[in-house]
């Protein structure tokens, strides 16, 4: 298990390093800097600005410098938000995104599994049909369509919930629902299929034949195996939540990473773009690591195999 864990951690670090290098190179080759304004500044001011932000040094030196500062957790100054460090901005933004993501994750996993179990246990009945149709719409619809629908109904028509900003628990309801829609639908589809497959297994038939009460069969065998399938997919699920956050944070004006990323790209605020990208990569790597490890812990067959597989 230790060997396996170590191998996974190293692979994750490698991925983060590659992402850091790639984004650094990509962004340095983009023309048009943050200081390009409609009215051009005198050349000596441009030179001073470039010097202040170390943009006049050779690329290799900039890269090494960047990596060294990265190792210390220093992501450099933001070009747009003068006087603020990228790390400083991210310290405010990351918890907001994480909170939103965690809320949506909890909603999606609990809601998706519950819906999937309900549908899987009553195949062909009305519950099953409703869940199947709903989850088809859920996996197809872009988050802004769901968001627009929720805002129209609950924000503008019924006026039950605030449709923007981030100022308390009530403000989190609509964004979390919007963000959770896709993974909920996905988890419901997965669970439903899994329940169907597990119900046909020999061990379920054996358990029933031995007179194990139905509720216990459901809990011990069906639910447990269905959970395993959802867990395998919770890595990509988490990545989906992070992806969705660009749109959801944009729609509801939530001050999280996604919104900062969108405005940073538009403003060509390179250090902020790099910072957000890196945090995303680190989060996805961490999420996958957590999933892999918990999966290996649940299913011993995995950790016996070599870590490279």
């Amino acid at each position: 298990m230790i060997r396996y864990t170590l191998g996974r951690v190293l692979a994750g670090l490698l991925v983060v390093w590659v992402v850091a290098t790639l984004t650094f190179l990509l962004l340095r080759f983009l023309p048009g800097g943050p200081f390009d304004k409609e009215r051009s500044l005198p050349p000596e001011i441009m030179r001073n600005l470039a010097h202040r932000y170390a943009l006049d040094r050779p690329l290799g030196a900039q890269y090494l410098d960047y990596l060294a500062r990265l190792a210390r957790g220093d992501l450099g100054p933001s070009y747009k938000y003068v006087g603020r460090d990228v790390a400083d901005i991210l310290r405010d933004a990351v918890p907001v995104s994480l909170e939103l993501g965690a809320l949506a994750f909890a909603l999606a996993v609990s809601g998706g599994i519950a819906l999937g179990l309900a549908a899987g246990a009553r195949r062909g009945r009305i519950v099953d049909r409703l869940v199947t149709l709903g989850s088809l719409v859920g996996v197809s619809a872009p988050s802004f369509v769901i968001g627009a629908g929720l805002i129209l109904v609950f924000g503008l028509f019924l006026r039950w919930l605030p449709a923007g900003l981030w100022e308390g628990p009530l403000y989190a309801v609509l964004p979390a629902l919007t963000l959770a829609a896709l993974p909920t639908a996905y988890a419901a589809q997965l669970t439903r299929a899994q329940v169907g497959a597990v119900m046909d297994q020999d061990y379920v038939r054996t358990a029933r034949a031995l007179g194990v009460p139905e509720a216990r069969v459901r809990r011990r065998h069906v639910l447990r195996n269905a959970l395993l399938a959802v867990m395998t997919y919770s890595g990509p699920l988490l990545a989906n939540l992070l992806t969705g956050s660009f749109v959801v944070e944009h729609i509801y004006a939530v001050p999280g990473m996604g919104r900062y990323f969108v405005s940073a790209v538009a403003n060509r605020d390179y250090p902020l773009v790099l910072g957000v990208t890196l945090v995303y990569a680190a989060l996805v790597v961490l999420a996958n690591l957590a999933v892999d490890l918990s999966y290996a812990w649940l299913d011993p067959r995995i950790r016996v195999g070599s870590p490279s597989e």
Partner: protein, 276 residues
């Protein structure tokens, strides 16, 4: 074909027809401004109403659909072509080449698609410098979408080629002295065509979705072009007072995505029995 499949085919067919017939259906040009009708709700003259500049929303949806579909089809073609070559090489050559090529694409999995697409669009829009201004961003978006799509295709092709490589008919071809390139092109590829077609059917809605998302957040399609995503984005700004501007673009996007998904499922059931 199942009932669901027919519903999908009907949805896709209707939207394609609308996108192609475009302005003729609406009776207005998509860029014809009529300030007297600005922000008008749906009526019998303007079936879906008008936007802030008095442009007919139906005509704009048709035009936007043309752009959305064009970008999605371009991206899918690219994803299939690159994914096919990449995956076939990886699966056929195996060993170190395979390990290197597959590790290479794994990095992409560590980043959200939207983030990769946005960064690529910005870089490509510059790298495509020689192209005329008007088309540059459109091509950049299609290429960026194709790039994020090709990974899935490459993995699929690799798995299929790995499987086919061990089949007896490949062994027979090899024993009769056929060159590896000939075996790959004449024997292996036709045998993996069906699952590839199914994956293409799912690539198109994925590309429509991704394009609409990056356009919605303002980093995708830009004027003078508009797509379903930019129309939804414009509509979103005005939805408090003029909900028709957000509702109809959303219906168009949702309808096309549902249609392609249902059609893809039907195709999979029909063509890809081994996986079922």
């Amino acid at each position: 074909m199942s009932a669901r499949g027919w519903v999908g085919a009907a949805l896709v067919g209707a939207l394609m027809l609308l996108a192609l017939a475009g302005d003729r259906v609406a009776g207005y040009r998509f860029d014809a401004q009529d300030p007297a009708h600005a922000l008008e709700a749906p009526s019998h003259t303007h079936w879906l109403g008008c936007d802030a500049l008095g442009r007919d929303l139906l005509a704009r949806l048709c035009e936007g659909g043309r752009v959305s579909l064009l970008v999605a089809v371009g991206a899918t073609a690219l994803a299939l072509a690159v994914g096919l070559v990449y995956g076939a090489l990886s699966g056929w050559l195996g060993g170190r080449v395979d390990a290197f090529l597959m590790r290479g694409v794994e990095v992409l999995y560590a980043l959200p698609d939207v983030l990769v697409i946005v960064l690529l669009i910005e870089v490509l829009a510059v790298a495509l410098g020689p192209l005329p201004d008007l088309w540059r961003r459109l091509v950049a978006i299609a290429v960026a979408l194709g790039f994020t799509g090709f990974v899935g295709v490459a993995r699929l092709v690799r798995a299929l080629v790995l499987q086919a490589r061990e089949e007896t008919w490949v062994e027979a071809a090899r024993a009769s002295g056929a060159r590896p390139s000939r075996i790959l092109i004449r024997h292996v590829l036709p045998n993996i065509a069906a699952p590839l077609l199914v994956s293409a059917a799912f690539q198109i809605p994925a590309a429509i979705l991704a394009e609409s998302i990056v356009s919605f957040i303002g980093l995708g399609i830009k004027p003078p072009f508009s797509s379903w995503g930019t129309l939804a984005s414009d509509g979103f700004e005005a939805m408090r007072s003029f909900p028709h501007l957000i509702v109809f673009p959303c219906i168009a996007i949702l309808g096309s995505l549902l249609g392609f998904h249902l059609l893809g499922e039907a195709l999979r059931e029909r063509l890809d029995r081994r996986q079922a």
